[in-house]
């Protein structure tokens, strides 16, 4: 983490507050705390904010507020952030049917690390993951956790279509595909939950700062959840 956050122009409608230059929970906490504080402050002229691994982009209307005034106000907010305070995380469970037709790469991931498929499932589903940010496609979470022991390289040739809800592994990252899209991650399972629903709110299941845990389910539970939604 930088000793001092950097306030950088990102065009004439954007201000980027950069807190560091690595993927680290401490930097995330700072970004997340700042994002919340900015939302609560309701500064005139701020249109939206976009948190990421290491920075917060503040999109603003230059007809309402100028760069310097905005910087001054944001620095004021930053100064008053309690140092080291970790904001509370929302906890979200992701029921997941591992293996079989829905997790075609589970066996490959297991073989790659000399494990059984059951061990891969146990390791993947026995820890909490922090949602660092969303991107790639609407609602796609970049999750941070400890996956060294099941880390597997991406597919050499990405699939043209990965179904919505697919849970994948790429190197030591894991993620969930919210919509059908191309993708090169190793697919180990699928969740019946909708991560992105454009037609009715809440449009997104996850937000930056959430803590995610995968819960193994069987086929019957999968079908029930698909038909009746979350219990």
């Amino acid at each position: 983490m930088y000793r001092q956050a950097r306030y950088l122009p990102a065009g004439d409608e954007g201000l980027l507050i950069e807190f560091g230059n690595e993927i680290h929970p401490d930097i995330h906490h700072r970004v997340y705390a700042m994002a919340r504080a900015v939302e609560e402050a309701t500064i005139q002229g701020i249109d939206e904010i976009i948190p990421s691994y290491r920075s917060l982009l503040v999109a603003y209307d230059p007809l309402v507020i100028n760069f310097k005034d905005l910087t001054d106000q944001l620095k004021g907010i930053e100064k008053n952030l309690a140092h080291g305070a970790i904001p509370e995380h929302r906890r979200v469970e992701i029921p997941t049917l591992y293996g079989g037709e829905f997790g075609p790469d589970l066996d490959f991931v297991a073989n790659h690390q000399g494990l059984t498929p059951e061990e891969v499932i146990r390791i993947h589903s026995s820890q909490d993951y922090l949602v660092y940010m969303l991107g790639f496609t609407p609602g796609f979470p970049y999750l941070g956790g400890n996956l060294e022991i099941i880390a597997t390289p991406r597919l050499k040739t990405p699939r043209i279509k990965v179904p919505a809800g697919s849970v994948g592994i790429a190197e030591n990252q894991t993620g969930i595909y919210p919509i059908e899209s191309p993708g090169g991650w190793r697919i180990i399972g699928r969740t019946p939950l909708k991560l992105f629903n454009p037609l009715q709110p809440p449009h997104f299941l996850l937000a930056a700062g959430d803590m995610v845990r995968f819960i193994p389910i069987d086929e019957k539970q999968y079908v029930d959840l698909l038909n009746y939604g979350s219990p």
Binding site: D12, E13, D47, S52
Partner: protein, 313 residues
Amino acid sequence: MEALEILHGGTFTTIQDLGRRGYQQFGMPTAGAMDITSLRLANRLVQNDEGQACLEITFVGLRLLALRDLVIAITGGNLVPKVNGSSLPMWKTVSLRKNSEISFSGVGDGIRSYLGVAGGLQVPDIMGSKSTYIRGGIGGVEGRPLRKGDRLHIGPRLSRIPLCRLNDEFIPHYGREWKTRVIMGPQEDYFSKKGIETFTSSEYTITPQSDRMGYRLQGPVIEHRKGADIISDATCLGSIQVPGHGLPIILFVDRQTTGGYPKIATAISVDVYDLGQAKPGDRIRFSPISVIEAHEIRKNYEKRMKGCIEIIR
């Protein structure tokens, strides 16, 4: 109220408004008109609110049938619009009789036309916008480009709409050479002094690999100083990112909300709107200005926008 039927969808025609705002933190691109200036003017010429949904027509081939008497305005790139085979004037209010056929048959100056209809095009609002976002399959008509047989509706409109036109001095001439003003950063420190000089002093060519997501440019390679990968952070409209190959990509309305390449500069908003009219093969140069200058330019632009339309009768 049914207003228009698509007889032929053309190369790529979508419904767009000012875009979907407020969901970028969830990874949702804004979409919206590439050339916001022309979208706003098309709406104002037919007495709509500036942000109503219009047709964004890219390249050639669109043909439409008026299903009732309509008042329309066409702005933006000149795609040689015709009504029943005769020339249809741009940048002014036009009354159309029921059963008129409108066609876009060529490519003149610019590449994207905007067709505004009094009453505004009515499709369901998805997350606060009617804009089509193709990759997500949402907005507009079923989240896809328009095709033969689609019927478009309009909302209520004024009973008498004054004929207006854009003052001649405001009618843009896009040409094939672009001078785009940029604000350096936010990651200019990823580039060597030489790299920044290359960027600000060279001419680049817009390649055919250019769409609503981004324009890929061809030209002198920009040298990095610290490597070409960054920890992903947010992108902006007009962000100019430079991947490892050293060639810049300008990001537009369908861009991913986050990206892992360093951004050498960001094009200013007013110039990005115009760039929506740039074609493959066009040449582009970048000149850095300060944030303060950019804000002055934006204020003057809004002032000019206010006074640029006159009522003919």
